[in-house]
């Protein structure tokens, strides 16, 4: 019997969003003894709902937003342009269901390193950007990274550039795939260091969940056995088991209302039929992702908060960072069969640090995978750019390439640029009549140079590994991102940040924000592990504040 709470009695905590951060927040606060209602705009699915159905994914766009046409988005590169509709795919990619994007992610789990937190102190400011240090250090976050390893479930083995860790991995790495072996081979020839990829996918049973069955429908798909470490698999059941947590799914939070003292009091939301309701709460933790969180704050504007709730700094929605995503591909003589198993088994971090000798800011990593790897998508976009797109030769090439191809995917830093942002579109409305999400994004020149640099290295690695053919599609400025970072950044200075080092709003005492929007720098890709560590840490502090009457 699932616990439900009355809307009219102020519950201890409302958590908005049940994804990478929200799922952890719900479980931690409920286990600490508090009553929690978690709002999730999407449905509450089970592992058995996830199917190997590529068509359904293109149709339903579950990993993009759940439905077509109901959530339009617009895109522009600069504030001088009018944003245009961008539907397929939209600029801001995230899933709508309990567990959020942690259900569908590729599961690459990279910790940030000490340098990521203090890089501005190391390198100095970068003109024209909001490049800044975090208000916390790697050492302060490390215990929570380790909790993610063990409680969410991360498989892996130590690598040559790893930051310090207080405990080993709970389970060994996933079995290596041919793409990993070839990255290994090419890397060794070039004096680079291939290591097992830390993945949020169990390689063997842990915490009562099974190990991966290598079904191959991994990136962009929910895991039908619960081996992929979404918060749906790892946290939500524990939250509900406390008897103090209600998951209120298909409920779209659109506004937070404050009382005369300036505290958040009521959460307004639409149920699955579009009927509006209000939930009373003593405190709110917003974990809705780097796009939805700023939208809720903008939609919660009032006389006291004319630019949006908690936006005295003016930084809500700003400093959006996507990470760069360059890619190079190679075809080999023998079959790799990359369509099987999880996406990534080997990575290299030799280019992680910024090297001033390169002449630009930035660092990154490269992983070995196969993308696009599912049949329809491969038919659409998997062959080299100069290949025919129809006819006998096209058909022959599909068969000659599909099982013989791998991808080296680069992941880079993105600089914090104030004009890169999430905002409300002045014209386009969503199905509820709300302003649509508008993205303004133009990669910093250094971000582009870093991506091109990684693609050059990837080409060399593929050739060293013995690829018969290598192709590197031109990497252009991004018009979409699945990593939604920076838009309500942490900081000690209320004029330069939205939340303090404990994720508390600088402006509203009982409002906390913890998700990808909290990140001050982008890391070298793969931010979900950091988002989860931040959530464990934030939950600990928030529970402490509540127990001591400091909210």
């Amino acid at each position: 019997m699932r616990r439900t709470f009355s809307k009219n009695e102020a519950v201890d905590f409302v958590v908005v969003g049940s994804g990478a951060a929200g799922g952890i927040m719900a479980k931690e606060l409920a286990e600490a003894g508090f009553n929690v209602v978690v709002f999730e705009q999407g449905p509450y699915l089970k592992a058995s709902d996830f199917r190997h159905d590529e068509l359904a994914h293109f149709l339903n766009q579950e990993w993009m937003g759940g439905n077509r046409g109901e959530h339009p988005q617009t895109f522009r590169q600069s504030v001088d342009e009018e944003a245009q509709r961008q539907d397929f795919p939209p600029p801001l990619l995230y899933a709508r269901l309990v567990g959020g994007s942690s259900v569908h992610f590729t599961a690459n789990f990279w910790r940030l390193r000490p340098v990521d937190f203090k890089e501005k102190s190391l390198l100095g400011p970068i003109e024209g950007t909001g490049f800044a240090d975090w208000p916390i250090t790697y050492e302060e976050l490390e215990p929570y990274y380790t909790r993610v390893d063990w409680e969410i479930g991360v498989s892996g083995a130590p690598g040559p550039f790893d930051p310090p860790r207080s405990k080993p991995y709970p389970v060994p790495p996933l079995p290596v795939k041919s793409s990993g072996v070839l990255l290994d081979k090419g890397a060794r020839k070039l004096g680079l260091h291939s290591q097992p990829a830390p993945m949020a996918i169990l390689s063997q049973p842990h915490n009562g969940r099974p190990g991966c069955i290598h079904c191959g429908f991994c990136m962009l798909y929910g895991c039908e056995v619960g081996a992929k470490s979404s918060t749906l698999a790892a946290m939500i059941p524990l939250a509900e088991a406390t008897g103090r947590c209600e998951i209120r799914a298909e409920s779209t939070v659109h506004r937070l209302e404050t009382d005369d003292s300036g505290r958040v009091r009521r959460i307004l939301y639409w149920d699955r039929d579009g009927v509006e309701h209000a939930q009373e709460a003593k405190a709110v933790v917003v974990c809705a992702n780097g796009a939805e969180t700023p939208r809720i704050l903008f939609m919660s504007e009032s006389a006291r908060h004319p630019n949006g709730l908690g936006n005295s700094s003016g930084k809500v929605g700003k400093y959006l960072m996507f990470n760069g995503q360059p890619a190079a591909h190679g075809r080999f003589a023998h079959p790799l069969n990359e369509f099987k198993s999880a996406s990534v088994t080997r990575i290299i971090h030799d280019f992680y640090e910024t090297d001033p000798k390169r002449g630009f800011y930035g660092g990154g990593g490269i992983d070995a995978r196969f993308m696009p790897g599912t049949p329809i998508w491969f038919g659409l976009a998997g062959l080299p750019p100069d290949a025919p797109t129809w006819g006998s030769e096209y058909k022959r090439m599909l068969g000659e390439f599909y099982n013989y191809t791998m991808t080296l995917a680069g992941h880079t830093t993105s600089l914090a640029v104030e004009t890169n942002s999430v905002s409300l579109d002045p014209e386009v409305k969503d199905k509820f009549g709300r302003p649509a999400l508008r993205t303004t994004y133009k990669d910093h020149p250094d971000d582009m140079k870093m991506s091109w640099f990684l693609n050059d290295r990837s080409r060399e690695i593929l050739e060293a590994a013995g690829a018969e053919e290598v192709w590197v599609p031109e990497y252009k400025e991004q018009t979409l991102g699945a990593h939604l970072l920076g838009t309500c950044r942490m900081g000690d200075d209320p004029e330069e940040s939205v939340v303090d080092r404990y994720h508390r709003s600088h402006d509203v005492q009982n409002l906390f924000i913890c998700d990808g929007s909290s990140m001050v720098t982008s890391g070298r890709g793969q931010p979900t592990m950091t988002i989860m560590a931040l959530a464990f840490r934030a939950a600990e502090h928030i529970a402490g504040f509540a127990k001591r009457g400091e909210i």
């Binding site: 069955i213 990359e338 129809w390």
Partner: protein
Amino acid sequence: MSFPSLLGAAEATWKQKTTDPSLKVLSEAEAAELDAVTSQIFPSDGTPGAREVGVVNFIDGSLESFNSGLIEPVRNAVADIQAKTAALFPGESLMSGLGNEDQIAVMKAIESEPYFGLIRFLTLVGMFSHPSYGGNRDRMGWKLLGFDDRHAWIPPFGYYDAEYSRED
């Protein structure tokens, strides 16, 4: 059963289907035109093509349900294909009535048209989606790629990791 005999059996079945009243949305002429276009995208040239795996059957079924919003664009595409056919081959009105070389000429005339991407996408989906949607008959589409869908796989997965696991 070898591919050529599979092809022969499928072709016989398919020829039956085009006069079959089970076409749900498309007219016979529209189905024939789509059959011509999709069969040029995935020809039957020794291995199964769009015709054998049932791409037009898939498209027709999908237009009745989840792709109902595409009925008009698909019909407009077919109309333009017929117009291009008539322009290239005066006196001809159906691409499906042309020989192979002439059909390829029509393909070259339409491949830059805005609707070509839609037709190609529908063909790919008909080739490679789960057979329960009416295409990819007997998984023949997946077999062209060397793909298969199973609940679970066991390592080694491919040549290079198998070789690696045998090395000392």
